[in-house]
Every structure is written in C-alpha cells, then in structure tokens.
C-alpha cells in the first residue's frame, strides 16, 4: 500500500468532472488508452501526453465535483495516476475512486505546502516527488532527493479500505456473489 511518484500540481479548487472528462465522451465505450487520451482535456490539454505510470496529482478543494461519471476517475487511472492528494474531494468522485482502486487522500497541509512551492495557478508537472504510505497514513514531499516534510492523513473508513484492498468494487463484489 505504498505509492511513490512524480507530482502534478493542479492549483485550483472545484476542478469538476466536465474538465476532467468531457461529457461528449461519456456514452462512448472507449478503451483504456482512449479514455487516458481525454484525461483533463478541458483543463490541461497536454496532461495526457506527459502523464506517466505512478504519477500523483496534488490539487485544491472539492476535486471532482459535478457529475457521477466514473470515467473522471478511470481516465486518470489509465493515464497512469496512482493517487490523488487534495484538500478535499467531492463525495461521488471519492466513492468512484475507491471503487476503481485509485488512492484518494485528503491532506490540506501537504497541498498547502506544495502550493507554496509552486506559485503559479493552474496545471504543471512539478519537480516535487511524493511518497504515500496508506498503511500508516504518512505522506512525504521531496524536492529532487531532499526530503522536505512529512504529513499524516486520517485513515480511511474500514469499508472503503476493504474495497480498495480487494482491488476495487468489481473484485469485492465477485467475492460476495
């Protein structure tokens, strides 16, 4: 339950599901790599080209507000994102993320620190690195090889952890048929 990766900064609040995955694609049954290509299309058109496996997103409050569309989570997952650290998440996005086994972590202190280091609003790939340990609720933020700071985040609800550990809700449900 450990994640380590490059850091994307989305320095905004209320980044909604239409910005993450536009409505015109939600009734198209797109393959994983096609979904990934549209990730963040209306927020940062270049994101999908540059995103890589194990990337981590750091963003403001109410990330993923708006629609129930699950592709807002899965497009990021297929683009390579393992974890999202936000000041807060919209409820539906949070639930969809757990159900798709994407780690969602609320840690305003870590976000504030990262935002302080990245003055400009909007999206960019930063020089920061992040490590997340779900088992003990710790996050560390590093610049190049230098550890900057460590943070704690509250543990998830037991049921959310159960679904996440199963590998998502499809696997969880399979075991309960």
């Amino acid at each position: 339950m450990k994640f380590e990766g490059r850091v994307w900064i989305f320095k905004d609040d209320d980044i909604n599901t239409d910005l993450i995955y536009p409505g015109k694609y939600i009734y198209e049954p797109l393959k994983e790599e096609e979904q990934a290509r549209h990730a963040m299309e209306d927020y940062d058109f270049d994101f999908s080209d540059q995103a890589r496996k194990h990337d981590i997103i750091i963003t403001g409050k109410n990330f993923g507000c708006g629609s129930s569309r699950e592709q807002a989570v899965t497009c990021l997952k297929y683009a390579g994102v393992d974890a999202i650290v936000a000041k807060s998440f919209a409820r539906l996005f949070y639930r969809n993320a757990i159900n798709s086994a994407v780690a969602v972590i609320e840690c305003p202190e870590a976000v504030d620190e990262a935002f302080k280091l990245e003055a400009k609003q909007g999206s960019r790939l930063s020089d920061l690195k992040m490590k997340i340990d779900l088992s003990n609720g710790k996050i560390s933020l590093a610049l190049k090889e230098y550890l900057l700071k460590e943070y704690s985040f509250p543990s998830w609800d037991e049921q959310a952890m159960l679904i996440f550990k199963a590998g998502g809700l499809v696997e969880y449900t399979k075991q309960r048929l």
């Binding site: 239409d18 910005l19 009734y27 708006g66 809700l169 399979k174 048929l177």
Partner: protein, 416 residues
C-alpha cells in the same frame, strides 16, 4: 438526542432501530435508477460475473441522455439496454421519449416518502422533494447493487436550511436555491444531507421542491430533502405504488448547522460562468448578449416552467439570432403543455421544441454551443465546456422566467 430525517431513513433502509452520524451501514434501496449509462453498467455487471439481477422489480431504467440517439454508438447503447431489460425481466423500463429519469421516477409513482433511492446520476437528490433520500452513486456501484442488492453508506451530518418570508412576484424556487448555493458554496454540503424548511418551502409545489432538491447536488449534498406534508400527500394521491409511511426529523435532532434566510427582498438570481456558486443578481449584470436560451432539464423542464415561459413569450418573437431550445422533462409534461396551449405559444415565438430528454445539458447532442457563444439556461451546471464547447463559451443558470425574458430581449434580463 433526536434524529435527523436522513438518520431515520437510513436506519429504516438498513433494518436498524437507529443510526448515528459517522456510522457505516448497509442499505438496500427501494429503487435504483440509471439511464443511458445502463449500457456501461451492464458491461460491469457481466465483468463481476453476475448472472441475474438481485430484484428486477426494484431496478428502474429510463432512456433520456441521448434521445433520440444522435449516432450509431448511442443507438447501440439503447439496443444493449433493451435486450438486457428483456432478458432480466426488469419491470420499470421507460424507453426513449417518456422523459428524464428524475421526472419519470416520481411521475409513475416509484418515489415514496421515507425510502432510499439510489441513482447512477448525480441529480438523484431530486427525489428528496417527496420526502425520500435520493442518493447518487457511480456506475460500478450500481452494477454491484444490481448483483448483490445492497451497498454501504456512511450516515451523514445534516444542514438544516430555513427559507423564511415571501418571494416577490417574478422570483421563483430557482432564484431561491441559486441564492442559497451562492451562500453555502459548491462544496458547502459535501458529504452532508440537507433538510429544507420554512414558510417559503411549505408553499412550494412538488415541482418547485424538485428544483431545490435537484440543485442541492450542486453544493455537494448526499441528499436534499423536503419533509412530507400536505402538499406531498396531495401529490401522492395522483399516483403512488403501494402504501407508504412517512418519516420526520425529531424536533430535537442534532444538525451540523442551521442556516436561516429571509428571502422577502430576493431579486432574480443568475449563476455566472463557470461555477454554480458564482451567483449574482440578474440586474447587476452588464448587458450580456446571448445566442442560446435553453428551457428544460430535470431542474426546470416541468409544466409550471413551460407555462410561465409561454406566458412571457406570448405574442412576441425571440430576438434575431437567438435560438430558444425547449425540452419538456417528460411525455406527460409535453402532453399537458400541448393541451394547455403552452407549446403553441412557445413555437409561435420561435422556439425549437424537442423530444422529452436531457438535451444539450450534458453537451453530447441536441444544441451544442459554437465557440464564443453564450447561453442562458434553466439547467443545473455551468461548467466550462459543459454544453460541448469550451472555447470562449459561457453558460448562465437562471429561472425559466429569466430564460424566456432573455430569449425575447437577446440579452440576459429578468424584466418581462
């Protein structure tokens, strides 16, 4: 300590005597709703390996998001859904043209007070208008409930909203709730339930209550509810499936907070691009020229909305260059609006009237904006790119009155 309405509803749905905030329980829904996304849900259901749905009588599907289908893929989605409905014996299926899921579910009596309605659509909160808890979930979760009949919920805290005073003439439920959204913020009710009270709410019709419960989703709410009263009782006499037992919050229920607003001086409101909580008085806006006026959706596409808009445009013509798009929320609404002459007045004024469905609200078909265009809309979201194009477009959310008045004027106004 007394219990809130959502605590009582969740307790009943989970078979417990009482629940308290933060507790995790498993609930089985009275109904589980989905729409065109059912095609994707079916695929996940199969991936799970499930063979039969847990209860074909409790699954509700209405085709509304791409109706009539604008392309082959969306037509195929509908075909996949029809086949599945037949194969599984799903009882409550409403094909293209019957209307928007959130309009059809209560119209056909599927919503009763005191129950949990789960829905694979963020505006499932609408069903709080009849005293039920409409709780939105995602596609995978819907497939899981189809398979095993239950899901987990964390009992939320509740914000009590009290709307006092009397709304001025020309000010409607949409203005009231837009004002509340401006005050509470786009994440002000995230994870929480909302209960609506006060003499303004008591006087609201079910249609108006649907508007406010629908838009509680835009504050992040898990559910938005108006407690059962005489208005609800009258409405349920028309059509309801089976007996029901209403629930109420206790008078000593513990709320996270109570927000009271006197709306006697409220003026028509508008949510400006690109956030729903960017709310202003219409009269404080500069003269903003519009290209499209959109009347419809689960928020404001009902008979009273079409009535008031038709009265405003009667005997007039929409401004040159403006398109007035009218999407009645359901077939029942359309038939009634035809009989009452509302549709004729709208069409005479230059409106384009479409098949009952979601229309351009979700930006997939049926009235996409061109680069640079501005739209005044009775819908629920004004996110950048929401109506299919993000290049210099802008969506302004307002009441049907403001939509109709703006269509005639050619710019945003609530003056009729």
């Amino acid at each position: 300590m007394g219990q809130t309405l959502i605590e009582k509803i969740i307790a009943r749905a989970s078979g417990k005597k009482a629940v308290s905030k933060g507790e995790i329980v498993f609930v089985s829904p009275h109904r589980i709703l989905s729409h065109d996304n059912s095609a994707a849900i079916i695929e996940i259901f199969k991936k799970i390996g499930a063979k039969k749905v847990w209860d074909p009588e409790r699954i509700f599907i209405a085709l509304d998001h791409a109706v009539p289908p604008p392309d082959e893929r969306k037509a195929l989605n509908h075909k996949i859904i029809r086949n599945f409905v037949k194969e599984q014996g799903i009882k409550h299926f409403y094909d293209c043209g019957v209307g928007i899921c959130h309009q059809v579910l209560p119209e056909y009596g599927h919503v009763v007070p005191g129950v949990v309605i789960l829905g694979s659509d963020s505006h499932t909160t609408t069903h709080g208008a009849l005293g039920a808890a409409g709780i939105p979930i995602g596609r995978t979760e819907t497939a899981s409930v189809w398979a095993i009949g239950k899901t987990w919920l964390k009992v939320p805290e509740t914000i009590k909203i009290v709307l006092q005073g009397t709304l001025k003439e020309g000010v409607y439920a949409k203005d009231a709730i837009l004002y509340v959204i401006g005050q509470v913020g786009a994440d002000g009710a995230n994870y929480k339930a909302m209960e609506f009270y006060g003499n303004i709410v008591e006087k609201m019709s079910i249609s108006e209550r649907m508007t406010i419960c629908n838009l509680s989703a835009e504050m992040g709410a898990k559910a938005g509810m108006v407690p059962f009263d005489e208005v609800t009782k009258e409405r349920l006499k028309r059509r309801v499936e089976g007996p029901y037992e209403s629930l109420y919050a206790d008078s000593d229920a513990a709320y996270e907070k109570v927000l009271e607003y006197d709306l006697s001086d409220l003026e028509p409101q508008v949510a400006c691009p690109h956030k729903v909580d960017n709310v202003h008085r219409v009269k404080d806006l500069k003269k903003i020229k519009i290209d499209v006026a959109f009347l419809g959706t689960c928020t404001n596409g009902r008979l009273d909305d079409l009535k008031i808009a038709s009265e405003i445009v009667e005997g007039k013509k929409i401004a040159p260059g403006v398109r007035l798009l009218v999407y009645p929320a359901s077939r029942m609404v359309l038939i009634a609006a035809l009989k009452m002459g509302y549709i004729e007045k709208l069409v005479e004024a230059g409106a384009e009237v479409a098949v009952p469905s979601c229309g351009p609200c979700l930006g997939a078909y049926g009235g996409i904006l061109a680069p640079g265009e501005k739209c005044i809309s009775s819908a629920n979201r004004n996110f950048k790119g929401r109506m299919g194009c993000k290049e210099e477009t802008g969506i302004f959310l307002a009441s049907p009155v403001t939509v109709a008045a703006s269509a005639i004027a050619g710019y945003i106004t609530a003056e009729v």
